[in-house]
Amino acid sequence: MTPDWILDIFAAVMLVVAAVSAARLVAARPWQRGAVVTDTDVSHLLMGIAMAGMLASSLTTLPNGAWVAVFAVLAVWFGYRVVRDYQASGARALAVGHCAPHLVHSAAMVYMFAAQAAPAAGGGGMGGMGAMSGMSTLHVPTLAFLFALILIGYTIWDLDQLSGLRQGLALSVVGVASPALAGTTAGVLGPEAGTTALAAGSRAANGVDQGSVDQGSRFTLIPVLDSPGIVVGCRIAMGVTMALMLILMI
């Protein structure tokens, strides 16, 4: 049986992800006109809370059925986004677009909540991870394995792209870069990071000064939240944790 303290550590990481996502949502000032609230932040927030509840039964919030409904809606939304990306960019959207990983995450969450073979030992039937530490299993374990493989694949890809981006951003920073490069950034990291990167790239190309770039950011209060690394870091943490949960529940 996997020790509870290990699951608690992963639960804590998920809570951090949820907190960061919540902070990004607040920093986006959704109550103002023209605010940009990104679906990825909403998705990270919900998944962080739900996964923390699965890992530590004391953090359980909603019944399994409610989470299935929530993540089914998210899966449909991201599925729609992926189809749109596919129509615009072809199969490349699956590899470099930000929606495909979120679609997989959402679908995996639906599967995890819907396919538990045994109710949680200490979770009051709500899927708390008494469920996991008590070795609750999933129906159709092959699907769990496939989800875990895909999640790990996206995690590795995200890490590679994130670290490779450092050099790409350096290029845009000195004005050599083009909006196209920043557009790639947007594809990898999602629109929330890409908007800023695109702005930076195009302004670098056009010689626009710092002030105008800063006005383009929606995170003037807490600039660190605007880091592309924050967004992808959350996704990486989520991918690893979700793969872990799937493997533990096989």
């Binding site: 049986m1 996997t2 020790p3 290990i6 530490s133 070795m135 299993t137 374990p141 092959t142 394995f145 875990a148 493989l149 790990i152 694949g153 995690t155 590795i156 890809w157 890490l159 590679d160 994130l162 670290s163 490779g164 981006l165 450092r166 050099q167 790409g168 951003l169 350096a170 290029l171 845009s172 920073v173 000195v174 004005g175 050599v176 870069a177 490069l181 930076a200 302004r203 670098a204 000064d209 710092q210 770039v213 800063d214 600039p223 660190v224 605007d226 880091s227 690394g229 924050i230 990486i236 690893v240 793969a243 872990l244 493997i247 533990l248 096989i250």
Partner: protein, 342 residues
Amino acid sequence: MTDVAVAGNRTAWRGRLGTEPVTARPPLDARRALQLVLAAIWLLDGVLQYQGFMFTNGDNGFSGMLAGTADGNPAVIAKPITWDANLIDHHIVLLNAIFATIQLLLGLGIAFRPTVRVALAASVLWSLGVWWFGEGLGGVLNGAASPLNGAPGAVIIYALLAVLLWPADRQVPAPFTAARAVGAHVARALWAVLWLSLAYFALTPANRAPAGVSGMIAGMEGGEPVWLQDLQKAGASLIGNQGLAASVVLAVALVLIAAGVYLPARITKAALVLAIVVAACIWVFAQAFGGILAGGATDVNSGPLLALLALAYWPPRTAPAAPQAVPAVSEEPAASASEQEA
């Protein structure tokens, strides 16, 4: 005013922007792609190591499994394994948590470009340690080795891949990816040694016994999903008691694969395809996907690694211009090449 200031005040990971070389991120090349697959496998191994079974001690637990690998090995090999298994038995939770985290970090480290060298080097050391203390040298010395059960030890193939995919260029242009770091001669020799050793193990008495192969396949059915059990039953019944014939066929295929990299490109490709097919068959039928679906796997076993290795020997689409050996690159240029590729 440039955007340096803009980027400079945002995040730590962009903190060195001003000092970094101004280069566009190069496209994903074959070696980096293979590195990423290796990283994914390490990451999966790390996740598998967190399974509940790995935190149990006793004869039927993780430590007991480790102790079992000492059986039949020479004392000089077996005694350290037994000592290690005892140590783990007493501190199973802490040590296994460390083991799992190390493997997790190896995967993440290989995927993260700035740490790829450190992670690959660490993976070689870790693999060698696990090969001895965790796999009993893959059964090479005690007669238990078989290409079907992961000989010569799945984890040693991780180390081999880390060496072959090392981000440096000894030979430019290289005839295949695995030759870039160590040169074509060394890479081919390593390939031949690995596959010829597999051919040898396929013909050892235990493996060529009438029910040797089918028994090994049937032994993997426990706990697997029904569809996989059906596949394995079909495979086992197909071979039946023809263990000798099956072993000979397998050994011949393995010898052909070993020799393939020394032949013209077209034949090499055929041999590599054969290698991938053999690796896939072994992984599905004899290794049951490493036993992952049964919930007791410690790693993915050797099938995917053999296939990954084969891909590292795949000739490029366009034949390189006359290969020319160049001296081993010094540390600085190598780092530069690595940076560029990474």
